[in-house]
């Protein structure tokens, strides 16, 4: 089972109540703006604590309110492409990319060189994130998550701000990871074409 | 004066605080308006006077500064009054290890061998200047002077002896006189240091009618008795 998730969480006026199990490695999460997609990913990454529920990925329980399991985020081995990128402003692009590489027990073994050429960010390596364009920032954020040797990926609109050619290449990579490595991924997107191309398993929040 | 309808404003050296407080109280109880007493270092007060304070009276523990004020302010030096004197003693804690010791050892040099000594800083504090004169005269300045703990005021030196951070203090008799936790040793022959005089002068800017009377009062024999009570000597 790639994902076994049941989460209830209230945040201000919004409350989410999601439950799904999936064998498919890639699950798309769709839903209107503000419905709680990012909130769900934050719960899975361990940045928010669900009110009740259970989160298991590939058989590993990350959270279980009944059993009082709550792994801290740095032990969940997840690669998270944040909707707001969150690059470290004081580190160069290269340092950002390498930041998570130390993690030993993950599943994606991508080299820095691979990631850089795939994302076409070779010329940016010595720059600080502050001067990157929107799409460049996005690509570095994807690279940082992929290089962090994760056991699963959380992708929150990874292709926002990217031109079609580049978006295409990244989708191809995601497909490769999905097929060759069977890395579980949760993929948030508003683009129905994108989603259709990647998976049949779609969870709609409302 | 800052406080308007009150008594005269007196700028006085901190070391005279105890007798002056009592004298001011006595003076007030005689039906006079209460004088306003501002205590600080003789130096600070002199500089304030120089820069136009509205004080009526200046009482200094340091002759240098009263001379300075008199010269700078073109004050008639005949107006300077000497209120009291003081003497210098060697003191230690009564319950400390040295209290007995020095009853049996005769010379200052022997007593101060290898112990910690404090006094005022000779470069900046009158007490220290007197201490230095004495130690020079005794021929032990070269030894003691190097390791003497030099404080910024006589009260700081006193405090070090009280805390036993210093074994001995070269202190004013007035600071030691009324304390039963200290013993003082009349180690020093009289005349080893220049005379210690606390002087007062009426400032020319003074417009206060009672300032002169108060000066007369604190220079009177009655006042001398109060100074004596706090260990000061007669002028």
């Amino acid at each position: 089972m790639s994902f076994d998730i049941a989460v209830r969480k209230s945040l201000g006026d919004c409350s989410i109540n999601v439950a799904f199990q999936s064998e498919a490695p890639l699950v798309a999460i769709i839903g209107q703006s503000g419905v709680g997609k990012t909130t769900l990913l934050n719960c899975i990454a361990g940045l928010l604590k669900p009110d009740t529920g259970r989160i298991a990925v590939e058989g590993t329980t990350l959270f279980d309110s009944k059993q009082q399991i709550d792994l801290p985020p740095n032990q969940r081995n997840c690669g998270y492409v944040f909707q707001d990128s969150r690059l470290f402003p004081h580190k160069t692009v290269k340092e950002n990319l390498l930041y998570g590489m130390g993690r030993s027990d993950g599943s994606i073994a991508l080299s820095l060189g691979n990631a850089v050429s795939l994302l076409d960010i070779g010329s940016l390596l010595e720059r600080k994130p502050g001067s990157l364009s929107g799409g460049e920032t996005r690509r570095v954020a994807i690279g940082r998550a992929l290089l962090s040797n994760p056991k699963f990926l959380l992708l929150d609109e990874p292709l926002a701000s990217l031109d079609n050619a580049r978006a295409d290449r990244i989708i191809e990579t995601i497909e490769r990871l999905r097929d060759e490595l069977a890395i579980p991924m949760l993929y948030v997107s508003h683009d129905t074409n994108e989603v259709a191309r990647l998976t049949d398993t779609v969870v709609t929040l409302d | 004066a800052p406080s308007g309808p009150t008594g005269p404003v007196i700028f006085a050296a901190s070391s005279l605080q105890a007798p002056l407080d009592e004298l001011a109280e006595n003076w007030t109880s005689l039906g006079n308006r209460e004088p306003v007493l501002s205590y600080a270092s003789s130096t600070a007060l002199a500089r304030q006077i120089e820069n136009g304070s509205l004080a009526d009276l200046y009482i200094s523990a340091d002759e240098q500064w009263i001379d300075y004020i008199v010269t700078a302010g073109k004050i008639d030096p005949d107006g300077i009054r000497t209120l009291a004197g003081n003497s210098i003693v060697l003191a230690t804690s009564r319950d400390g290890p040295h209290a007995k010791l020095y009853e049996t050892i005769p010379t200052t040099a022997a007593i101060l061998e290898g112990v910690t000594v404090t006094s005022g800083d000779p470069d900046s504090v009158p007490l220290g200047r007197y201490a230095k004169e004495i130690l020079v005269a005794e021929g032990i300045w070269d030894d003691i002077g190097r390791r003497m703990i030099r404080t910024s005021s006589s009260s700081a030196a006193l405090r070090l002896v009280l805390l036993k951070e210093a074994d001995f203090g070269v202190l004013y008799a007035s600071d030691v006189e009324r304390r039963d936790d200290l013993v003082s040793y009349p180690a020093f022959a009289k005349g080893l240091h220049s005379p210690i005089r606390y002087k007062a002068v009426l400032l020319p800017s003074s417009g206060h009618p009672e300032a002169g009377e108060f000066l007369d009062y604190i220079a009177s024999d009655e006042a001398a008795a109060v100074f004596a009570k706090y260990g000061f000597t007669l002028p």
Binding site: - | Q17, Q48, S53
Partner: protein, 233 residues
């Protein structure tokens, strides 16, 4: 120790609080102005101004007090001007004590404020400009509120420094009971006389209590201002 406050002690405390609050209120806008000027541009002389602001921190307080005395004394350039123009003088008055405290607190306040002003995201300032905001409106609506943490930190530092100020005060405005004898000067005065340990201890405890109260107040203000925002770690 547990006797109620004497009227002399009350006088000292109210005087100290008066002096300190006037000092902080006086220094706050000046410090913020200086912080702004020192942050925003590299005009010639900026460096000198920066150094000048730091001077009261670097010099022994006695020197600062002495400089104030020379400047604001009756014969001093500023003092004689104040006297002839407004008929007032700061020397040997509680207002002078407030001035001394303000001058001593200024460098601390400026530093804290600079830190917060420098942390304001310039992209927000740009956004305000594209929305038609003038320099002045941008300052009032963006920079000022976003640097509030620094203003508060500056105020706390300034308050604490002011209430403890001793050297510059006694040198500038002497030690006049009821007028310039603030808490630190009262403690000093008591320390000069033997056998006043209890009086000294009482005054020290009062100083501690006041600063504790000020801290509580400031923490409360900070928490209100930040809307109870969660902390970092």
């Amino acid at each position: 120790m547990i006797a109620p406050l004497s009227s002399a002690e009350w006088e000292i405390i109210t005087l100290s609080l008066k002096v300190t609050s006037v000092a902080v209120l006086l220094a706050l806008p000046i410090a913020y102005g200086l912080a702004l000027v020192l942050t925003r541009s590299r005009f010639p002389g900026r460096f000198l101004l920066d150094a000048l602001v730091h001077l009261p921190l670097v010099l022994p307080p006695v020197v600062t007090g002495y400089v104030l005395l020379i400047l604001f004394g009756r014969n001093g350039p500023i003092g004689s001007f104040l006297e002839s123009t407004f008929g007032t003088s700061l020397t040997f008055r509680w207002t002078g004590a407030a001035l001394a405290a303000a001058v001593m607190a200024l460098p601390l306040m400026v530093r804290a404020m600079r830190l917060s002003i420098e942390a304001v995201d310039p992209r927000l300032v740009e956004a305000a400009h594209t929305l038609g905001a003038s320099r002045w409106r941008t300052f009032a609506t963006i920079i000022l509120p976003l640097s509030l943490p620094g203003i508060l930190a500056g105020a706390i530092l300034g308050f604490a420094r002011s209430i403890g100020e001793f050297g510059a005060t006694i040198t500038f405005v002497s030690n006049i009971p009821g007028e310039t004898r603030t808490l630190p000067l009262a403690i000093y005065t008591s320390l000069q006389v033997p056998g006043t340990d209890i009086a000294v201890a009482r005054l020290v405890v009062l100083a501690v209590i006041i600063s504790l109260a000020a801290l509580i107040l400031s923490e409360w203000l900070v928490r209100r201002a930040s809307g109870g925002r969660a902390h970092v770690l």
